[in-house]
Symmetry: D2
Subunit: 314 residues, 4 copies
């Protein structure tokens, strides 16, 4: 016998008598009020770990899914070259920004529509799934046509209209943690997506802002087990944005797998020193190919898998 | 003779020979490259303090402008009652949210269009200017019709599409500081508005997120002199969100004036204990009326003015 | 009739029957268990604001007491010159480090015994009280001979042996807040001094460590009203260490008085650009003399006093 | 041929001509000025990773050394029982506090001399090395007699007199990172010990203070590769204090090994729910014995070793 859990959520307080009314139905085994602020994201509402199917792989299962690619889509050549390299090394999806949030209005802000088309070409050629950022509700329809997973960036983690808009599409959404976001607020941001009927939310820890300056952000690795204790939703880590500096990316990636992360998203660029954005934190192809089998070993040690490519050096 | 400064900004690097070409014109006195990341917001580009005219008052002049009102527009009665009370005590503008960003999707999110209409009624009756939050680019046109100043909330401080959209309107924009926003990033966010040709940006310090829990946020009062040293734009403080608790609001408000703030935005509610949002940090009418003459005295001590209402107790 | 409150504190849990036993005495009006972690520092234990007499002035009364002087005692000439200047401008006490905690072992660490003797000379000549830092229990006896107020620095705020040692002396102790100290932890640190029978503790807010880098620390001005709500002990502010940069010191000092601080401690140096430590945050004599009457005006606006010297410019 | 590097450090600026004078010696190959603030801790001064011999094991080599034990020494029975259990599971050293820094003066502060004697008994019986905290310079001599490694706690990380005192002993010193300590400041604190001629410093990352409240501290795992890039000194992690909650300790411990930590220090107690301090973050014997072989697998994946005990379950 399987159980079905029906969650009733909304802003209007429910009458206390409703519980009795509902329990009167034979089919209803138990009526339970969830007192946590986040509801759909909690284990009470959804006692099984969420698994999200994307093309030929699954997020939230035994495999630790690796996503890789450049910060920005700069050109077709750069993107295809990177797609082939990360595919060969074992990545399952390609990251690449067509719309880029930039702290200054005078910096490169992405290729837009053309960038999306380049990602589509890379997808077609390599079979990699695509994840790309959407920054505003008006762009959701356009980005929907090209991406397999919507990325919501740290700056937009509490852009509620955007969260609801991607919620309506039903497509998987990777929700990056804001720079000073409490884990509880993160779960509540996910709730905005879930409440639109889209169960496919993936968290991504990418470092928080603290006083320390040796790294771009402070990688809050404890967010992995904490989020997994509070929620059934899968959680990724982004060691590239956390570290902000190439020499530390591999250590943080391995730590993420050891801590139980369901996946990683890593910046890889054919020529990091000439990248239009985030070059100082991007791995080159060799560094990425070298990292994959090391991640595979750590995954094995925690009874998970990472499938490193055959071409990858050991 | 008056000087006109023309700023040339953009993402394409300018040819070095351009300087000479421009200096060849008789009318050009000097060509200067601004090396700060923020340009239009800097004193180099605009050596006079920005003054913004709103109805019958001016922001950025000698007067320390006080804005007051409820967190949310809850009803016409609540809003009109508050508008009259804060007007009588000396406020120049009425704050009130019609669209409310809420951490949880299950909380009260504002009356929307109806809330805007209530604000318009309050404006008509009292003559107070209106400031209200806009949360997404698609709402800018609608909110434009009703508000005198757009408020961009802390969660949207790096919602660049929204910043550009309010930038296009030319109407004054109050830009709240994000919870973990560097002052430099704040200036760059202002730059998004300014770069659209809208010079009317007002900063608002409302506390940053730190480890301390006795207050809702940590009021970074030094942001006032720092922003004034780096930029010609006026800066307000929001002691209500900084404190998060009523007993501390007055002290922070007075400190803000002493530190040189160009204005204050304070939450006032007819019955704080029954407010639909932020009641614990809202002053009641009496507390606000009592605060105004105290602010006036501090303002005088720093050679500024706050005009407390005649009805206000001393 | 006056009441006497006797606090019973210790680490051994008291038997519940003790309350009844004590109440049986005719002289005992009420037995009350204080449930806050800090006890002697709380209003429950000591319902009157603490006033501390030092030479001819009082801390915790109507006067906002200004302490000024160099970061380090560098020479007799520098110290005496500064003492005369700050005395003339209205300061009540002279600060100056003979023992300096330095982040690096290779920096100037103070003149030690010789520095203390120079302070004694300055005291004798000007009548100013002396406040100087003590860094380790073994030095308490020596520093006791020269100082009127012990300063416990931010790095030593949880050096419990040191707190107990100065607690035993009975002399006033200024307890600087640690860089990442919760206000509750600060009260508990004070409790270490108070529990030794020394009621003369003065808090000093000097900025906390956050992500912002425009100032040396983030001046948590709300700590002033918060500490005053939780405790009867006086609280000072140190705008020099908070700002870390000269141009912001005056604004923070004025904000501190407006927020209700009981005093200020300000770094002043004859020639800040050549100071052996903290020069970039020290005021010169003229800047300090200029600040005093401005502080006096703010103090007046909050019904307190600062007595600026006759020689001070207005 | 082996090279000897002689470091000349001090607070007096060296004359520029000194370089030439020294290079005139035939035995001198090169004179080099180290411009980093930390000198003895840097790779420039000591190009080989520091290895520290303690009883029969070595810190800084291939083995990831595990230290375990109770927060406080509570009794001989509790300590011996724990010592036997952690020894059986593979720990190399026993931790246990005889002197405990406590935020409140009214909490259990350790057994002092009796606690040290109990640790000595545990050492004798099990052969485990001992690490215990010393809190004040006056206690260094006493603690020296009983401990194999001095522990300097987070609150004392900038207690410079204490650092110099343990520096004089030559015994290994574990230097915990302060709650808001920059990694550069940590290296400078180590410099205080090193400058006394004691090369045996071990860093220990134990979490920093941030806004997040789900964990006691924020485990800054990136501190491991960062410290290793800047310094030749070994670095441990303390997942217990970082997490503050039992369910997260194992994940953080595994992450620490994956990130390259040279060792771990873990709180273990026979009956965590009845511990006199830190019970909520202590593992019981079974949890610890279960963790050890998992750490061994991770260690193997990064080409290091952890030797789990024979009795440990797999």
């Amino acid at each position: 016998m399987s159980n079905t859990i029906i969650g009733v959520v909304g802003t209007t307080p429910l009458p206390p008598t409703l519980d009795e009314m509902l329990e009167a139905f034979d089919e209803v085994e138990q009526v339970m009020r969830v007192t946590k602020k986040y509801k759909l994201a909690s284990w009470e509402f959804h006692p099984k770990k969420t698994r999200i199917k994307v093309l030929d792989f699954e997020i939230g299962g035994d495999e630790v899914v690796v996503i890789a690619g450049p910060c920005s889509v700069e050109s077709e050549a750069q993107t295809l070259e990177t797609a082939r390299a990360v595919k060969a090394a074992g990545a399952k999806a390609l990251r690449g920004g067509a719309y880029k949030p930039r702290t200054s209005p005078y910096e490169f802000r992405g290729l837009g529509q053309k960038g999306l088309e380049i990602l589509a070409t890379a997808r077609e050629e390599t079979g990699l799934a695509i994840i790309t950022e959407v920054m505003t509700p008006a762009d959701v329809e356009q980005v929907y046509k090209y991406t397999d997973i919507f990325q919501i960036g740290a700056r937009n983690c509490q852009n509620y209209y955007l969260l609801e808009e991607v919620g309506k599409t039903g497509k998987p959404v990777m929700l990056k943690r804001g720079m000073s976001m409490l884990i509880e607020e993160w779960l509540l941001a996910a709730e905005y997506v879930l409440a639109q009927g889209n169960p496919n939310v993936i968290f991504c820890e990418r470092g928080i802002r603290t006083f320390e300056t040796q790294t771009r952000n402070t990688f809050d690795i404890a967010a992995v087990p904490v989020a997994q204790k509070l929620s059934h939703l899968p959680i990724f880590v982004d060691p590239s944005h956390a570290a902000g500096k190439r020499p530390f990316v591999a250590s943080l990636a391995m730590a993420g797998v050891a801590a139980g992360a369901d996946g990683l998203i890593i910046e890889v660029h054919p020529n990091p020193d000439h990248a239009l954005s985030d070059g100082q934190q991007s791995l080159n192809f060799e560094e990425f190919a070298d990292l994959m089998p090391r991640l595979a070993k750590i995954a094995e040690a925690v009874d998970r898998t990472v499938v490193a490519g055959e071409l990858a050096p050991v």
